[in-house]
Symmetry: C2
Subunit: 245 residues, 2 copies
């Protein structure tokens, strides 16, 4: 058996998320169906760095799997891409030690959230950015974002359905990248809870639109109650950008 | 009756082209269905600047229609966008004289064709650019493109199915725009025949890959025979960019 680490990219708009669900088209089930074909029907388990929700994209999701097939990394990449549907792409394949684990070995993740600020609806952005044409005070958003940096209990900033106990995470960076009528919010941290990036974005939008003040952020963190934070921003603006090991 | 000129944009990937066809989802039929709803079922004919094929996109297609409704330009824009599906957007609405005609009054058109040059498949580009990872000599393509400029009989560069008699057109500009792993070919001319831009691109790709020489272009123009030009490049890279009046 050889363990393989793959970096994959997918357009999330055609998937019910990353993780296998009965009777749904998911990234993991497409990957496992394809590997089963390559292994004469034998079931090969694919482990991802984490889930992404329905409609959420990935520029650099990481997965691993074990295979008895003796194929070079380059040939794996060609074979996987030729068998996968067009909305998933394998960007690289690397032979790794059996101690590597896509989920448990991840030390840092980068997510990006793309806002489309134009008042004009853009058919080419509708699945790839969240249109927010109402005007934003980006300076306030930047000020607010600083309160998220460092180590915090993010109970207020994750779905009430979150199952993990420990809700303390470290956010290392939040950057704002301007590009024409697109505004990209970049989040780097040691881990993100369920819906956390989308709730951080929804809360920053509440600040940018004047519904919240930057100084409200430490208060909301302190509350440890999801109801005090902003809305969960829609899935189509979110990208799992890179996973670090 | 008031005539309205609208600039519209659409993601062509969900349409069987611009023009109405029985039992197919087309841009024109979506527009006419929506206008019929606004006019209590009365049929309103929509006239476009020209057709686009299945999968071809538009950044600035122009249409006109006549309506008895007394609505301001701004309200038309809001109403149309609220009723149209998400893959069509109305960018502007202008009251025009009844002598305006979206097709016959057009004096110039700009098309763009986007090539994705990376060897890595990109799920986000698959419907919006043509992946061509085989290497291209762009200098040769540029040299070849000069032979297309000016007034020529483009019989060799349109579909054999083209119905119009007069195949003489003027190409005013062909530009190459580099942007990372995207190469955009920009075509401006007084009119383009059926499949003409896609055949021009396919022929320039044949030059860029070494299958044809720049000097072959005048010979192919002279032949007036579709079989001597390059392949028809795929629809998904093509954008009707702007129509000038």
């Amino acid at each position: 058996m050889q363990r393989y680490k793959c970096v994959i990219s997918y357009d999330g708009s055609g998937f019910s998320g990353y993780q296998v669900q009965p009777n749904k088209r998911t990234v993991q089930s497409e990957l496992e169906a394809m590997l089963a074909k390559m292994h004469k029907g034998a079931s090969i388990k694919v482990v991802g760095s984490g889930r992404t929700d329905a409609g959420v994209h990935a520029k650099g999701q990481v997965i691993h799997f074990d295979s008895p097939l003796a194929i070079s990394e380059q040939k794996w990449e060609i074979a996987l891409n030729s068998m996968l549907p067009e909305d998933i792409s394998v960007l690289s394949v690397l032979k790794v030690d059996a101690s590597f684990h896509a989920r448990f070995a991840a030390v840092r993740k980068e997510y990006r959230y793309i806002l489309h600020l134009s008042p004009k609806r853009d058919p080419f952005q509708r699945k790839f950015a969240y249109q927010y044409p109402y005007g934003l005070n980006v300076d306030s958003m930047r000020e607010a974002s600083k309160f998220f940096l460092g180590t915090h209990d993010f109970t207020s900033f994750c779905s009430a359905k979150t199952e993990v106990e420990d809700k303390i995470r470290i956010i290392e960076a939040i950057d704002f990248i301007n590009g024409g009528d697109l505004l990209t919010l970049r989040f780097v941290g040691n881990g993100f809870l369920y819906n956390m990036v989308r709730i951080l974005v929804g809360t920053l939008l509440a600040v940018g639109s004047g519904d919240l003040l930057p100084e409200d952020i430490p208060v909301i963190l302190e509350k440890k109650d999801r109801r005090f934070a902003g809305k969960t921003a829609p899935a189509q603006g979110l990208y799992l950008w890179e996973v670090f090991y």
